[in-house]
C-alpha cells in the first residue's frame, strides 16, 4: 500500500487525489460501510437511554423542561413496592407473553405440519395465512372490537346459535386479557407457522425415514426425530415472537385505550409506561418503569440466545 502512495509522475494531480481517496476508502471499507447505520442507531438509542436512566433518578413530571430534583433511587423503591399498578402490569406482561407464545407454538406447529407436504392449492392457503400477519395491528384491533362487541358483535351471535349467553369479551374486567391474548394468537400464529414451515422444509427426509423403517409411530417420529432436529428453528421463533409479545402496544391501546381499560385489565408494562409518560407526564416514574422493563427484556433475550447456542452444539 505504501507503493500506491507514491504515484508515477505522469499521472495528473486530480487523478492521484481520487486514487488515494479511493485506496483509503477501499482499505477502510469495513467501517466505512458499517458506520452510518451503527451511528444512526447508536445516537438514537444511546442518548435517549442515558437520559431515561437520568430521569429515572429524578422527580421529573409535568413538563420535561420543568425543574426536577435528583432523588436517587427513590423512584425504584416506589415502583418496586407498588402492588397496585406496577406488579400487576408485570404479571400481565408475562401472562400475555407466556400464554400467547405457548398457544402460538402448539397451533403453529400443528398448522406447519399440516402444510408441510405438498398439496393442491398450497399457494392460496399460504397467502391466506400471511394476511393476518401483515394486517395493520390497529386496524386488526378495531376489527375485533366490532366482532367482540357485546351487543352487536358476531362473536355473541355465534354463541347465541349454540345456545350460550352473551359474553362481555373485551369490555369485561376478567375477560379482556384472555380476549386480547386470543387476538394476538390470531394475528401472530401465522408468523410461527411460516418460520417452522421453513425449518421443516429444510429438514432432510432420511432420519424420519430411518425411524419409520425401525417401526416408530408417527407421534414417536415427530417427538423424537422432527422436534429435536427442528429445535434451533423453534428457538428462533420463540425469540422473535417473545420480543414482540413483551412489547405489544398497538393492539392493547387500540382495543382498550388509555391505561389498559378502566380497571387496567390489559395494562402491560409497555402500556403502563406509555400512560405514565404521555397521559400523566410523570417522567421520573415512567423512566424507572422503562429501565426495569428494558432490563427484563434484555434478560429474556440473553436466556433465550444462550439456550439457542446450547441447542446448536
Amino acid at each position: 500500500m505504501a507503493v500506491a502512495a507514491l504515484p508515477p509522475k505522469r499521472v495528473p494531480q486530480k487523478q492521484t487525489a481520487w486514487k488515494s481517496y479511493s485506496d483509503w476508502a477501499n482499505e477502510h471499507r469495513k467501517w466505512l460501510f458499517a458506520a452510518p447505520a451503527m451511528i444512526f442507531v447508536a445516537v438514537l438509542i444511546a442518548f435517549p437511554l442515558g437520559w431515561t436512566l437520568y430521569l429515572s433518578l429524578t422527580d421529573a413530571s409535568g413538563s420535561v423542561r420543568a425543574k426536577s430534583e435528583f432523588i436517587g433511587l427513590e423512584n425504584y423503591a416506589d415502583v418496586l413496592t407498588d402492588t397496585e399498578r406496577f406488579w400487576p402490569a408485570v404479571l400481565r406482561t408475562f401472562v400475555f407473553t407466556a400464554v400467547a407464545l405457548t398457544v402460538q407454538l402448539v397451533l403453529g406447529m400443528a398448522i406447519a405440519l399440516l402444510l408441510w407436504r405438498p398439496f393442491k392449492g398450497e399457494k392460496w392457503v399460504r397467502v391466506a395465512i400471511l394476511l393476518p400477519l401483515v394486517a395493520t395491528p390497529v386496524a386488526v384491533g378495531m376489527m375485533w372490537r366490532l366482532i367482540f362487541d357485546p351487543n352487536i358483535g358476531f362473536a355473541n351471535q355465534l354463541l347465541g346459535f349454540v345456545g350460550i349467553g352473551p359474553q362481555p369479551w373485551l369490555s369485561g374486567q376478567y375477560s379482556a386479557l384472555p380476549t386480547v391474548i386470543f387476538i394476538d394468537i390470531w394475528q401472530w400464529t401465522p408468523m410461527v407457522v411460516i418460520i417452522l414451515l421453513a425449518g421443516l422444509t429444510s429438514l432432510s427426509d432420511e432420519p424420519d425415514e430411518a425411524a419409520r423403517i425401525d417401526g416408530a409411530s408417527a407421534w414417536q417420529r415427530f417427538r423424537f426425530v422432527t422436534v429435536p432436529l427442528l429445535m434451533p428453528t423453534i428457538i428462533v421463533a420463540i425469540l422473535l415472537r417473545s420480543i414482540d409479545a413483551l412489547k405489544t402496544f398497538d393492539l392493547l391501546y387500540a382495543t382498550k385505550g388509555r391505561g389498559g381499560g378502566s380497571f387496567h385489565e390489559v395494562e402491560t408494562l409497555n402500556v403502563y409506561a406509555y400512560g405514565l409518560s404521555f397521559d400523566y407526564n410523570d417522567y421520573g416514574v415512567s423512566s424507572t418503569v422503562l429501565i426495569i422493563f428494558f432490563l427484563i427484556i434484555v434478560a429474556v433475550m440473553f436466556l433465550l440466545t444462550r439456550r439457542r447456542k446450547d441447542v446448536q452444539k
Binding site: 447505520a37 442507531v41 438514537l44 399460504r126 400471511l130 395493520t136 376489527m143 390470531w186 429444510s202
Partner: protein
C-alpha cells in the same frame, strides 16, 4: 466394473426395502382418511384466519343500521356510503399520502445506510456490531419517545415529516440489516473475487457485482420494511402533527369520541389494510423469505 457392482446391488436392495416399508405401512384406507382429515383441517385453518377479515370488509359495506341488525349478518344491500364519508372528510386521503410517504422515505433511507452495513457485517463477520443495530428491534419504543419528543420539539421538528421518517427508519433499518446479512451470508464470494481479478477495487466489485446480484434480497428487505413502517402506530401517535398523521393514528382517533361509527371505522380499517394485502398477494415469496431470514440455518 467389479468395483461398481456391489454398490449397485446395495443401492437396489435399499430402495426395495424402502418401498416395501412404505407400502406396508401406508394402507390405502389410512391414506384416504388422512387426506379427508387434512382437507377439512386446511379449510378450518384458512377460514379461521380469513373470516374476521371478510367480516371487516362486509361491515364496511353496511349501513350502521344493518350492522346492528343480526338478521342482516350475511344478506344485506351493500353500500359504499362509508367509504364516501371516510374518504370525503377528515383529509383521509392526505393521511394515506402521509403513511405512504413516511414508509417510502424511511425504507429508501434505511436501504442507503443499511445495505452497505449488512454487506460489511456479513463479510467481516461483525456480529457484535450487528447487535448494535438489532438493539433497535429489541428496545421498547416508549423508552426512546420521551427524549426524542423533547429533543425534536426543541428543534421544532415534531409534527413534521422528517421526525416521523427518522423514527420509522428505526423500525426499517434493523429489519433490512438483519435480512440482508443472512442474504449476503449465503451469497458465494467467488463472483466478487472474479471481479477483483478483473481489476475492480473492493468497493467497485461491491457496486458492480454484488449489488446487482442482491436485488432479490433488497426487494425482500424493502417490502418488509415498508409494511412494518406502514403498520407502525406508536411513533406516529406521539410524533405526528395534525397534518402529518399516518393512517393507524387516524383510525385510532376515530374512536376517541363517545359513539363509534362502526361502518366508517371498518371502511377506514379496510383502507389501511388493503394496500398491504395487495402487496402481500403479489410478493408472498419475498415476504416469507424475509420473515424466515436466518431462522433455518444452523
Amino acid at each position: 466394473m467389479s468395483l461398481a457392482e456391489p454398490r449397485l446391488i446395495r443401492a437396489g436392495s435399499d430402495s426395495a426395502a424402502l418401498s416395501g416399508a412404505t407400502t406396508r405401512r401406508r394402507k390405502p384406507f389410512r391414506t384416504r382418511a388422512y387426506k379427508v382429515f387434512r382437507a377439512v383441517a386446511l379449510i378450518v385453518v384458512v377460514a379461521a384466519f380469513i373470516a374476521p377479515l371478510v367480516w371487516m370488509f362486509l361491515a364496511s359495506l353496511k349501513t350502521n343500521v344493518d350492522i346492528y341488525d343480526a338478521s342482516k349478518t350475511l344478506v344485506f344491500t351493500p353500500t359504499t356510503a362509508n367509504y364516501e364519508t371516510v374518504l370525503g372528510r377528515n383529509n383521509y386521503l392526505s393521511f394515506v399520502f402521509n403513511s405512504f410517504w413516511v414508509a417510502f422515505a424511511s425504507t429508501v433511507l434505511s436501504l442507503i445506510i443499511g445495505i452497505p452495513a449488512a454487506y460489511s457485517m456479513s463479510r467481516f463477520a461483525m456480529r457484535r456490531s450487528a447487535l448494535v443495530v438489532l438493539m433497535a428491534r429489541i428496545i421498547p419504543g416508549v423508552s426512546l419517545l420521551v427524549p426524542w419528543y423533547y429533543v425534536f420539539s426543541n428543534l421544532s421538528m415534531v409534527g413534521g415529516y422528517s421526525v416521523l421518517i427518522l423514527s420509522h427508519m428505526f423500525v426499517a433499518l434493523p429489519l433490512i440489516v438483519y435480512i440482508l446479512m443472512s442474504y449476503y451470508d449465503s451469497m458465494p464470494l467467488e463472483l466478487e473475487e472474479a471481479a477483483r481479478v478483473d481489476g475492480l477495487t473492493h468497493i467497485g466489485a461491491f457496486l458492480k457485482v454484488t449489488l446487482p446480484l442482491s436485488v432479490g434480497g433488497i426487494a425482500t428487505a424493502s417490502i418488509l420494511a415498508f409494511i412494518f413502517s406502514w403498520n407502525n402506530f406508536m411513533f406516529a401517535l406521539v410524533l405526528s402533527g395534525a397534518d402529518t398523521k399516518t393512517l393507524p393514528v387516524a383510525i385510532f382517533n376515530f374512536v376517541a369520541y363517545a359513539s363509534i361509527d362502526w361502518g366508517g371505522l371498518m371502511a377506514a380499517s379496510v383502507v389501511v389494510t388493503i394496500p398491504i394485502m395487495v402487496i402481500a398477494l403479489f410478493t408472498q415469496k419475498y415476504i416469507v423469505s424475509g420473515l424466515t431470514a436466518g431462522a433455518t440455518k444452523g
